[in-house]
């Protein structure tokens, strides 16, 4: 029996026979082909109003010279803002810093999260308490995390300098956040510290979905821990890791408050990412057009990442079918 004939049979069996004599029932409006669109309409209107319109406005702004002080008096300059930012060496450095920040944050937060999730997935006394404690950095607001990190890194009273001095790794003067060498790593460590609890909790739930019989079978077949992880566990949690990586990438591109509060993009632009540059252009230099062009670069990068991730996911799905 083909799939279609099977469907027909089921339908015929389940559908009640229509009485020849009963009056024809009015078709419910909820049954019309427009119903899905009706349900989607509020969300679509919301997205159009609060995402679409500002985005369109930003695209328009990026082709104008507009001052924050006189936003109504803007002039059309075509691609001038884009030519300006792409011709600026500082912007190239900003793009590189953004790339480093995103890659390290994604790899660091997902990697650390996976490691912690694997540890928490094992049975030990006090596991519940440890699981609760691990989520604390995620529960703390970004501003609080930035302030805590700044205090810990303070050259005068910060605990980090005391510790580094004690083990002979102290930074001269102790000013980690004012060093072009150490400021970005310090921000990266803080970001990963804030993000890994989320990834570990999500990955822990994914690990608990790994069928135990499969891992047991792998073990009985003589596979070591690493091979069991690779052949069984990883295959189950891979989609979750992919989703987390995508989320972390988008969030890292957009991350502002932590970097702004810790260094404001300094010293000498060494921690300046796209959003920090955007903010500085909009509110320090008051150039809304340039800021919008930088914002559009961020939007395009995000779209490329999303498209890339869908492409990778589709490829993985095909591989799975084969």
């Amino acid at each position: 029996m083909t799939k279609d004939t099977h469907s027909m049979t089921v339908l015929e069996q389940t559908r009640a026979p229509r009485s020849e004599t009963s009056p024809r029932r009015r078709r419910s409006p909820l049954g019309s082909r427009w119903t899905p669109y009706l349900f989607l309409a509020p969300a679509a209107v919301f997205i159009l109003l609060f995402q679409g319109v500002p985005l369109a406005q930003e695209i328009y702004l990026s082709f104008t010279r507009t001052s924050l002080l006189n936003p109504t008096r803007s002039t059309w300059v075509g691609l001038e803002n884009y030519a300006h930012i792409f011709g600026d060496d500082d912007f190239h450095r900003t793009l590189l810093t953004t790339l480093i920040y995103v890659v390290v944050c994604v790899v660091g937060s997902v990697g650390a999260g996976l490691l912690v999730a694997l540890l928490l997935n094992r049975g030990f006394r006090g596991r519940g308490v440890v699981r609760a404690l691990v989520t604390v950095p995620w529960a703390a607001p970004g501003i609080a995390v930035a302030l805590i990190a700044t205090w810990m890194l303070n050259p005068q009273y910060g605990i980090v300098n005391r510790f580094l001095d004690a083990v002979g790794l102290g930074v001269p003067g102790g000013a980690i956040l004012d060093s072009q060498t150490y400021a970005l790593p310090a921000i990266l460590v803080t970001t990963i510290w804030q993000l890994f609890p989320l990834t570990s909790v999500v990955l822990l739930s994914a690990l608990q979905a790994v069928p135990k019989d499969l891992t047991e079978a792998a073990t009985m077949d003589g596979a070591g821990r690493w091979w069991t992880f690779r052949a069984v566990t990883w295959q189950v949690i891979k989609p979750t890791v992919g989703l987390l990586a995508l989320l972390m990438t988008i969030w890292s591109i957009r991350r502002f408050e932590l970097i702004w509060l810790m260094t404001k993009g300094g010293p000498v632009g060494s921690t300046e990412t796209l959003v920090i540059d955007l903010y500085a252009q909009a509110f320090d230099s008051k150039q809304l057009g340039t800021a919008a062009a930088i914002g559009m670069v961020g939007v395009v990068i995000s779209l490329i990442v999303i498209a890339g991730s869908r492409f990778v996911a589709r490829g993985a799905a095909k591989e799975g079918i084969r």
Binding site: N154, G173, L177, T263, V268
Partner: protein, 421 residues
Amino acid sequence: MRKPRVRRATVAAATVVGLVAVVSAGCGSDDSGSGSASDGGGVTTLTFAASTFGDPGRGPQLEEWLEQFNASQDEIRVEAASVPYPTFGQTVLTQMGGGEGPDLVRFDMPEFEAASDAGLIAPLDDLIDAGEYELLEQPDRFMVHDDVRHGIIFEASNYAMFYNADLIPEPPTTYEDFFAIAQSLTSGDTFGLAFRQTEAEEAGVWQDIFNYVYGFGGAWSDGEDLTINAPENLEGLQAYKDLYDANVIPRGADAATFRRMFAEGKVAMELNNGGYATHLLAESPDLNFSVAPIPFPERSQGAILAPIVINEASEAKEEAATFITWALEPENQTSLQEILGASSVATATERTPESLQELPFLPTFDELTESSLPQVVLGFEAQTPDIRKIVVQNVIAALQGQVDLQTALDDAQEQATELVG
């Protein structure tokens, strides 16, 4: 009786129309364009935005001062709007750029110049007869642009050297002495000096380095061209860098930290403005500190000039002008002077014996008024924030040893010249 049937579509349409009407009414209800409001009983309420309202030492007293004005009026009321200093310019300028914002604003100079250049400040010539008052000449001349008055000095604070009198019985009078004392008092967690040197405090670094530039005979411009890499500037900033390199300052410490250290006796000297004296006295009444002129070769230093202005978008400009006129009355200037402590106000006022007893160094500050200059790039006032970013970034690059100071200033000169055209 049969109820009339209402079609669902009609109900839905009516709901949507109703919602749109409510939202439209809500959006259109506040189109005043500024902070002013009338209560319907004839009282116009004005908003006065200043970062100093949040100052724990002076904020409550300034609000009491406003209440004195409110008590003297039947038709106008002024309410304080406190906006934190780090975000003040950004917040208020964004509001004003959008045709909104407070009626009265106490600006710092860079933001004042930017707002003035963008036409966001109401000209005062038709609203206030400035000739009626004995305005302090030196700070007041920066309130007039192209013969149009845009502001009245609310507070003028000269920079001077604060020192811990327990640690330094005799204040230094030359840069060499200053350097030597800073070195001799630096030991362990005690430092001879403190200044801002991090990009996170860009505006503060700019204020601090002005004293070194002016104090060694330099300037950022000659009024027509930028002179960022002039030899005098190099000499002044080299003096600043030498102190940094000598490790006599708590590196990486922000202003809040090193000011607390000064209050605790862990920092011996700092260069700061008169507004800080009142704050310090309020926070650390037992601290034995004093003030002397900055001991650099030239008697010229920066000053915090803070004008009060009227928002061009205000619908109550005359009422706002009434407040400024009230503030300029001699007795109200005197009471404002008492609140501001070591700062000056718009007009010359006599220091009271009580003030002089509490702050015996007040004459030191007053004598500096004639040699103080605002912390803007003269001739390029409106572009000061952009030039500031370039200069501070390059100076910090030199502090960190990335480039030598001469190269840093040359780079800054080139970048800033390209910026201003």
